[in-house]
């Protein structure tokens, strides 16, 4: 067994697998290509026929370059510290792969590879990385075991070298191993791996989590994106953008009364950031400083101490969205709102937020903006509840078994009036709040009873009154357009009025105008130099993507005196029937508008983007590959939920399940044991045995036990006999016959061993017999004929006939007498 060669191969495989896994976890195919090629080439360069390695000075220079790469990553590329360290360790490993390697370098390789995997495990939530990680653990176990063996041999050799200082160096110790080394090492390794896996599962389940990560992984706000995707600020005017990647961002499971619901026809809007300020210079929508000042940190534990207004929630019903966010580094907490229809817009009133990972959130009652106060590593799960509207009734219908129809979801009547019944219902239920009251709804009530007005930070009243109002870019031109659209819709709206009863109707009419008259296009051209992209969208290009539609609607609304703000998030439309959840991808990023409907209405969602075009843009590909992808994503979702985003609630659930199972099993065993005892006592009583019968029964049982023990003993003796005679490798029928016939030889061995003469394993029987005879012919003379007899039967296949049996008996007797006589003399 060439352990050193095997070890070298395993180390190479381990290091390469670790680097590939890190690149996969980081989703960096370019790095994977480069690192994989350089790493794979190292085997042929260093272990090939020529076997050349880099000189030490080149390795040192390479290490310095790696430090430079680390600095560039951190300072210029603004890569996460963990990612930068992963790249750094990767570079060092590549260098060592090309260097001359002793045990020290191999140990460095193993440690660096482990550190790299630790870093990647922090960042990655991918299931493929999980598979790689599992494979890595298996190879790491084998490598560690072999490293232990080779390092021990090297340690012994070095010790002997030190001892022989000044003299000739002793040769490297030869591998001394028994039979079946490789097989037994595999079995032992498998056992070790199983024990490690079981203990790891137990530790994983039991170790408490705080959910509070010390890492700050919040990404730095970058430039305008080149493709669709969620951002917490919106920069317009960047020109054409491409479709974002189809990488899943989050999974959304919506439940009504504990039952998962979902529709492919009616998607949901996943609400992320609410942006109320438009910076004219940079053409960027951001959250205003006023809104930022209204943020207040809330403890999730306190928040969920008791549900608010349970009777109101019971009456109106509530949606609960379980969101599994795969990358929580941006700290944005997404919530869910129903997609607005043409006839109505839905309000958004957060009822409950619950998470076992997040400890604190910041919440603003002004724009209902939720944000994590600390970075969360990897995936995070949380639950958001809000008051149900009409769709909950449809959901309830689906739960009952009948799919919802549009007539169930949509309000009755064919006019374009915004549905006051729902608004009224929500107003009664407390679901909508007057914008003039500036109340934050139920969440706002938890801020100390005074809403944002009595919050910790003082808020400028003037700023508050102008929140999400006013439009400055070509105001007259835009206002004229809005007024014209409203007049066409039969709505009169005084731009100076603070609120009117027709505000929502007016906003809906403006949105409808954009939907009908403007074209959805990702390839919209950049505005002319110095021009404003919103104005260019409204009056020149008349085409653009969702952000421009939202910005255009806001401009029209605000120029008409209606408060409006932009909301960015996702449009969840891809329903995974296997797991009954929505899959939200990066390419599903979307922007829409929230409009203040005035007293009694609150902020309502409006989407001016043509729905059919958005749906076509977001539509998932179909076919066989789509099914496979759906299956994979379902598995990955399970991996993320069960492993990556394992939180306290899941932990408690698993522990409770285990406890309940153990308790139930123990109760069942106890019950059955009692049953057996009762049965035995009943049988005894029913048999009505007398004294003699009872004694006989006891003797019979004792006899059975003794017989069993004897059989066991015979089996052990037989096995030992086969082992001593080295007959284990022979066929069973040959083995048994030989075992019986060669009993005399074992008797001779026993006799000799009793007198201190044991045959060493390295000595053949004949050599042993000769050595004994030479040592003391008078005492050990009979050993030689007995051994010759042994050879005749064992290898000559002679039977143990009467003559040989007699001869063996006589020789044994002579040997016993000779040895006894010798001892006596």
């Amino acid at each position: 067994m060439n352990t050193m060669f095997l070890f070298r191969r395993l180390v190479f495989a381990l290091v390469l697998l670790g680097m590939v896994a890190s690149c996969v976890g980081e989703r960096n195919p370019g790095l994977l290509l480069i690192v994989g090629a350089i790493g794979a080439m190292s085997w042929y360069v260093t272990e090939g026929p020529s076997g050349r390695t880099l000189p030490r000075w080149m390795v040192n220079v390479g290490a310095l370059l790696a430090v430079g790469w680390l600095a560039v990553d951190l300072v210029l590329n603004r890569v996460y510290v963990v990612s930068a360290m992963t790249h750094f360790t990767m570079a060092l490993q590549l260098l060592i792969l090309y260097a001359r390697k002793t045990d020290r370098e191999y140990a460095q390789l193993l440690v660096l590879s482990l550190l790299q995997m630790i870093g990647t495990s922090v960042l990655s939530v991918s299931m493929i990385y999980g598979v790689f990680l599992g494979l890595y653990c298996v190879i790491a176990l084998a490598t560690t075991l072999l490293f232990h063996l080779t390092a021990t041999a090297e340690q012994v050799h070095l010790h002997n070298l030190r001892s022989a200082r000044g003299g000739a160096a002793p040769a490297r110790p030869q591998v001394t191993a028994g039979r079946g080394t490789r097989r037994q090492l595999r079995v032992v390794g498998l056992g070790i791996g199983l024990v490690c896996a079981v203990v790891a599962a137990a530790v994983f389940l039991v170790v408490p989590r705080t959910g509070r990560s010390g890492l700050n992984l919040t990404p730095v706000a970058g430039q305008a994106p080149a493709q669709t995707g969620f951002t917490s600020t919106v920069r317009l005017g960047a020109g054409p953008i491409g479709t974002g990647s189809r990488e899943p961002m989050l999974n959304l499971k919506i439940k009504v009364r504990g039952q998962a619901v979902g529709w492919k026809e009616l998607p949901w809007l996943v609400r992320g950031a609410a942006l109320d300020h438009y910076d004219v210079q940079s053409h960027t929508w951001v959250r205003s400083a006023f809104a930022d000042q209204t943020d207040k940190t809330l403890s999730v534990e306190v928040l969920n101490a008791r549900p608010l207004r349970p009777e109101a929630t019971r009456q109106a019903g509530a949606y609960t969205a379980e969101i599994t966010l795969r990358d929580a580094r941006p700290r944005v907490i997404f919530s869910v709102v129903p997609t607005p229809t043409r006839r109505e817009s839905s309000g958004f009133d957060l009822l409950r937020f619950d998470s076992d990972v997040l400890q604190e959130v910041s919440f603003s009652p002004v724009d209902q903006h939720l944000r994590a106060t600390a970075s969360v590593v990897g995936a995070v799960q949380y639950r958001v509840s809000w008051v149900a509207g009409r769709r909950s009734r449809a959901a309830a219908a689906e739960v009952r078994g009948s799919p919802p129809s549009l007539t169930e979801i949509m309000p009755a009547g064919g006019d374009d009036a915004v549905g006051p019944p729902q608004a009224a219902a929500q107003g009664r239920a407390g679901g909508g709040r007057l914008s003039g009251e500036r109340s934050g709804g139920r969440f706002g009530e938890r801020l100390g009873g005074a809403g944002w007005r009595g919050g910790a930070r003082a808020v400028n009243e003037v700023t508050a009154r102008t929140y999400a109002r006013g439009w400055t870019v070509e105001r007259d031109r835009v206002a004229a357009l809005a007024q014209r659209v409203l007049r066409d819709a039969g709505i009169e709206r005084d731009p100076e009025a603070r609120h009117t009863a027709d505000d929502l109707r007016a906003a809906a009419a403006l949105a409808e105008y954009l939907r009908r008259g403007y074209r959805y296009d990702l390839n919209n051209p950049a505005p002319r130099r110095g021009g404003d992209p919103v104005t260019a969208f409204l009056f020149e290009t008349r085409s653009g993507h969702c952000e421009l539609f939202a910005a255009g609607l806001i401009a029209l609304c605000r120029s008409s005196g209606i408060p409006a703000r932009m909301v960015t998030g996702f449009r969840a439309s891809e329903f995974n029937t296997m797991g009954e959840y929505y899959v939200v991808r990066q390419s599903n990023a979307h922007a829409w508008v929230e409009v203040d409907g005035g007293p009694g209405m609150g902020w309502r969602t409006l989407d001016a983007t043509p729905q059919d075009r958005v749906e076509a843009e977001h539509r998932a590909p179909e076919g066989v590959l789509a099914s496979v992808r759906e299956l994979y994503e379902h598995l990955e979702f399970a991996w993320i939920r069960r492993v990556v985003a394992f939180d306290v609630r899941t932990q408690e659930g698993v522990i409770d399940n285990v406890r309940a199972t153990v308790s139930a099993s123990s109760r069942r065993i106890e019950r059955e044991t009692r049953g057996v005892g009762r049965w035995a006592r009943g049988r005894w009583a029913a048999a009505d045995l007398g004294y003699a019968e009872a004694v006989g029964l006891a003797l019979g049982r004792g006899g059975l036990l003794i017989a069993g023990a004897i059989l066991l003993r015979l089996a052990v003796v037989r096995r030992r006999r086969m082992s001593r005679l080295k007959l284990a490798a022979l066929p069973a029928e040959v083995r048994q016959g030989l075992g019986r016939r060669l009993g005399f030889y074992l008797a001779m061995q026993d006799l000799l061993e009793r007198h201190g003469q044991r045959r060493p394993a390295w000595q053949t029987p004949s050599g042993f017999a000769r050595s004994l005879a030479e040592m003391d012919p008078s005492r050990f003379g009979p050993v030689v004929p007995l051994t010759e007899l042994f050879y005749e039967i064992r290898f000559g296949h002679h039977p143990l006939d009467d003559a040989r049996r007699q001869q063996a008996r006589e020789q044994l007797k002579a040997l016993e007498q000779a040895i006894g006589g010798g001892r006596g003399g």
């Binding site: 067994m1 440690v111 550190l115 630790i118 495990s121 922090v122 653990c137 560690t144 075991l145 232990h148 063996l149 390092a151 021990t152 041999a153 340690q155 012994v156 002997n160 001892s163 022989a164 200082r165 000044g166 003299g167 000739a168 002793p170 040769a171 110790p173 001394t176 191993a177 028994g178 039979r179 080394t181 037994q184 090492l185 032992v188 070790i192 024990v195 490690c196 896996a197 079981v198 203990v199 790891a200 530790v203 994983f204 170790v207 989590r209 705080t210 959910g211 990560s213 010390g214 890492l215 969360v376 590593v377 990897g378 492993v643 990556v644 394992f646 082992s723 060493p760 394993a761 390295w762």
Partner: protein, 418 residues
């Protein structure tokens, strides 16, 4: 072989393992990344399996040492071990090490071999399966002559992750007599020192059936009829027998003079390390041992007398047993127990005696000039003048074997020098 005690300890590998586990735990707690909790669980699993294997490891292990009877300084000495696993679990990476005697405080240990060995020899077994036995060896090179006493063997393993070292100590007393360092003596030295025909033969003019004619005498009953000189018998009328000379091995009487205080050391100039007085004495002993071996190979009858150690003397004889006895005597010399002034000086030595001592050599006779009238003196300080290459017992035995199977003793000498 008895099993004395079992010990457990955490080695540097265990500390490293704990450090890595701590790093993973710290990273898991700091980042709350669940995969790292898995990783930490795996490390804990490794710890648990290490504890389990340490608890049941080395169960049923038996180690038995077998040593050669003799060794020589500087020559590889293989301590062989028979490792038997009577347990039900295989054992991996078992390290065998010789231990010295425990010190007076019970903790400090003397070096294995009492300073004769440079360190504690180590052997290694990759794997011993259940109910299997293997043999391994621990190579070592003795650094000093004397009795190498081996008392304890420590078998240890830290399989699988070097976290916990488990060791079992076996008590087994063995002794190996380590001869002084052996060298090949320069080719002409023996022929110069002792009369002979150059091939190690010396004809003694004494009647006992040999090859050369010695004389005539009266026939005695019992003489072989072949010895009758028929011509002379016919001439004188009575039976006359012919006598031949008896060939006889040459004789070399070595006197090792170790009396009194050792002379001063030599050398040590020009940055070269000097040779201490004690080392000079050891060189003298080594030179005497080398002469004994060389003389044995050349067929000499070799005698030895050691001055300073009472009546330690051996008459001139030839034979392997005799050579071994002489080497054992030289190996067993304890310079701290010598009798400094109780022995007569060199005045009482014969002219043919060869004196070996620790100082400078003098009075080497030349072959052409015959005897100078005084005994030849070989000095340990001139060691390099007399010897060539280091050799060992194995080489000498091989040369001796070739001599026995060769055509004659002269042939053996040439074969040994080749």
């Amino acid at each position: 072989m008895t099993r004395s005690r079992t010990r457990y300890r955490i080695g540097s590998g265990g500390l490293l393992y704990g450090l890595v586990s701590g790093v993973i735990l710290a990273a898991a707690v700091y980042t709350q990344a669940n995969l790292l909790f898995w990783g930490f669980g795996l490390m804990v699993g490794g710890m648990v399996i290490s504890l389990l294997l340490a608890a049941v490891g080395l169960w049923g292990l038996e180690v038995e040492r077998s040593v050669p009877e003799h060794g020589a300084v500087g020559e590889a000495l293989a301590l062989r071990y028979r490792v038997q696993n009577r347990g039900w679990l295989p054992m991996f990476a078992v390290v065998l090490q010789e231990l010295g005697e425990a010190g007076a405080d019970g903790k400090r240990r003397e070096r294995a071999g009492g300073g004769i060995l440079g360190g504690s020899p180590m052997g290694w077994v990759l794997h011993v399966g259940a109910k299997q036995a293997v043999q391994t060896l621990a190579p070592c090179r003795p650094r000093a002559r004397g009795v190498l006493r081996l008392r304890r063997i420590e078998a240890s393993t830290s399989f699988p992750f070097s976290v916990i070292y488990k060791s079992v100590v076996f008590e087994q007393a063995d002794e190996v007599l380590v001869f002084p360092a052996l060298y090949r003596v320069r080719r002409k030295l023996l022929t110069v020192l002792s009369p002979g025909d150059g091939d190690g033969r010396q004809s003694v003019r004494r009647p006992q059936g040999g090859e050369e004619f010695f004389g005539l005498r009266e026939y005695r009953p019992g003489d072989s009829p072949r010895m009758i000189d028929w011509k002379r018998t016919a001439r004188v009328g009575t039976r006359v027998a012919r006598e031949s000379t008896t060939p006889r091995a040459p004789r070399l009487a070595i006197v090792l003079d170790l009396r009194g205080a050792p002379p001063m050391g030599v050398g040590g100039r020009g940055g070269r390390p000097g040779v201490t007085a004690r080392e000079l004495e050891e060189r003298a002993i080594s030179l005497a041992a080398s002469l004994v071996c060389e003389a044995h190979l050349a067929g000499y009858r070799t005698g030895l007398r050691v001055l300073g150690f009472g009546e330690l003397a051996f008459g001139p004889r030839h034979g392997l047993m005799h050579r071994t006895r002489l080497l054992e005597a030289l190996a067993g010399l304890n310079l701290r127990e010598r009798d400094a002034g109780g022995t007569a000086g060199r005045a009482g030595l014969g002219r043919s005696d060869l004196i070996v001592w620790a100082g400078r050599g003098a009075g080497l006779p030349s072959r052409a000039g015959g005897q100078t009238g005084v005994a030849a003196v070989l000095g340990g300080a001139d060691f390099e003048r007399y010897v060539t290459d280091p050799t060992g017992l194995a080489t000498l035995s091989e040369a001796d074997g070739r001599g026995r199977t060769g055509s004659g003793r002269g042939g053996s000498d040439r074969g040994a020098r080749a």
